[in-house]
Amino acid sequence: MNQLKAIWAYRYFIISSIKTEFRSRFARSSLGGVWMVLHPLAQVAIYALVLSAVLAAKLPGIDNQYAYAIYLMAGTLGWSLFAEVFGRSLGVFVDNGNLLKKMAFPKIALPLIVTGSALVNNLLLFGAVLVVFGILGHMPTLMLLWLPVLIAVTLALALGLGLALGIINVFMRDIGQIVPIILQFWFWLTPVVYVSTMIPEKYHALLMLNPMSGIVMGYQNILVYNKAPDISTLLYPATIAIVALSLALFMYFRANEEMADAL
């Protein structure tokens, strides 16, 4: 309760920090905010052009020569949100160590700032994806309304894992080195660049053990196949996300006092 009050009291700081992050990233560049859109647009355009036009990969069930690019973009949208929040909350306490030692403010504001700015980034990427979809002649439907659910599950999972490991990272700095490596393996264990049906049936259950599989497949259902996400595959990631987030918050309350000592 007290933490919620503290977050509310610091709402202005959280929002201003997110703004500051974008402001400083594009300060002194003449195009400024345009870069915020150009970056994700370029990223998506590379996927669309190189992978589809050059490799001409086709997807079963989609009647569009850019089908593979569309598939890739959908998965990337979900994965990049997860990876950014997870990866950055991992180092958020260590990177802001000096500030935490000198100023008294609720530490929980820091991962929230990370989450907020990652969300803004992701929404921009989403905008860029929609533009490219339009150019490629792939029109998304009202199923897009399911996206906030997926985003919420992704954020909870990423924040839960990132916060928990970020706290441990304060005391055991090796975590900060190991996790990026794990994240790379994790990417290939998630059906972002390949289709889950390409995996032999006997390994399928194994693939679904990865909570990100269900989430990414949900993104693909919505954006590629214009279908509602499969609730049954989402329940498992949502459960994991809630467990991870509760664990992280529990650890946060326990470690809160010791963190400033170790920074």
């Binding site: 201003s16 402001r23 055991m172 400033a260």
Partner: protein, 426 residues
């Protein structure tokens, strides 16, 4: 004792309410231990209820209790590593005490590291908003004071320029103006405030004093005797994590100086053991300085001198050989070693002639300390006359150290005190 206090708290509170204002800060029996676990894994498991004994506990603070009344100014002194910063961090809330409790009634603002969290690419205005946000204020609250911050900082058009184009002094101005935009109940002032130009230093001290007159309590952390003596009502001496003295500033500073002197003596003793002499002394030794000291007008030995006070420098000299003529001199240097003033008996047209071996006498210089605030050292010399310039009997650098503070003069800057009268003719 803390327990009995706890049970009485409610009762006391009622009484205090009717009579005395309750303290704005109450520090009750706090201690701080840094726990070292054999492996960090044990620490992490301990959050989940598996209790492991820390392998090693280092206590940086123990049994610290004191309170501050509204409007009171307290100085915290102590040598490096005494626990001053830890105490401050516990009071501001960045560190949690391992034992005891801190009760704060009101808002704390700390002038510790000014400009902390400033972003170089943001303008002064944006940074002011951002760091006031870090202090927990909302945008509407900041809107109400932003004009006042801009006016106080006096950086002109730079307020809307990126902070990276600022000088460090300008950055300090914006930071100070932001931190003190709201009057806190407790203001913690670290030595950080000695940065910046004299004009802004005075301006900031004026604001601090104004806060105090409106009821803000001040907590100064400083090695500067002058600051403690001239601004504080009370001083606390910390040594190795304990309160060694909590009393009037004079009392505490005397205690502190004695503590330092004790340590200095012991190092000198060690040096004497090593080579029999203290390094800063040079000379051929026909005449030596036995003892020297600065005395005030009533004959007390002093290390702290007020601007414009008459001072007596007494030098006890002992002869080891017959010398036809001796010149005694002294030189005052500032903390950077720059000579401020120096003279000797020859320049003063005083001659010591026909000195005999084993003779012992005292040479007394009387002067008025018309020098600026700061710390100074005295070098003493015994040598031959101009015609015997090569004869250096003894030269003692840093023979005496003293501090000059401004007690009763108007504020001035610089190393010299030039009594000035002002008159306006229109």
């Amino acid at each position: 004792m803390p327990n009995s206090k706890l049970t009485l708290t409610n009762l006391e509170f009622k009484i205090e309410n009717s009579a005395l204002p309750s303290p704005v800060l109450e520090v009750t029996n706090i201690g701080k231990a840094y726990r070292n676990y054999g492996s960090e894994l044990w620490r992490i498991l301990s959050w989940f209820g598996l209790r492991f004994k820390p392998v090693h506990e280092t206590w940086t603070l123990q049994n610290i209790s004191f309170s501050i009344a509204p409007g009171e100014a307290i100085g915290v002194v102590g040598q490096n590593g005494a626990g001053k910063s830890t105490l401050l961090k516990i009071i501001t809330g960045t560190l949690k005490p391992s034992t005891g409790s801190v009760t704060v009634r009101g808002k704390i603002a700390a002038i510790l590291e000014l400009g902390m969290g400033f972003h170089p690419d943001l303008t002064g205005r944006q940074n002011a908003y951002h760091s006031a946000g870090l202090m927990g204020y909302t945008s509407t609250q900041i809107d109400a004071v932003i004009d006042q911050i801009e006016a106080f900082a006096e950086v002109g058009e730079y307020f809307d320029q990126p902070v990276r184009t600022y000088s460090s002094g300008m950055q300090m101005r914006v930071a100070f103006a932001t931190v003190t935009a709201y009057r806190p109940e407790i203001l913690i002032v670290d030595e950080a405030l000695s940065v910046g130009d004299a004009y802004f230093q005075h301006k900031s001290f004026d604001r601090i004093r104004q806060f105090q007159s409106e009821g803000t309590s001040l907590l100064f952390v400083s090695h500067d005797k002058g600051v403690i003596l001239s601004l504080c009502d009370r001083a606390i001496l910390l040594e190795r994590g304990h309160i060694l003295k909590d009393g009037s500033p004079e009392e505490t500073m005397d205690y502190y100086n004695a503590l330092i002197a004790e340590k200095e003596n012991s190092t000198i003793r060690q040096e004497k053991l090593a080579d029999g002499k203290v390094q800063t002394i040079s000379g051929t030794g026909e005449a030596t300085i036995e003892e020297s000291g600065l005395y005030n007008s009533i004959g007390e030995k002093v290390e702290l001198i007020g601007v414009g006070d008459p001072v007596e420098l007494r030098i006890k000299i002992k002869m080891y050989q017959d010398i036809p003529e001796l010149v005694v001199g002294y030189m005052i240097r500032d903390r950077l070693g720059q000579p401020i003033f120096g003279t000797n008996t020859q320049y003063l047209n005083y001659s010591f002639t026909s000195l005999t071996s084993a003779e012992s006498f005292e040479c007394i210089f009387n002067f008025v300390a018309n020098i600026g605030v700061g710390s100074y050292s005295l070098s003493l010399a015994l040598h031959g006359t101009h015609s015997h310039v090569l004869a250096n009997y003894e030269w003692k650098d840093n023979a005496l150290m003293f501090e000059v503070i401004n007690i009763d003069k108007n504020i001035f800057v610089g190393t010299s005190w030039l009594p000035t009268e002002v008159k306006v003719v229109r």
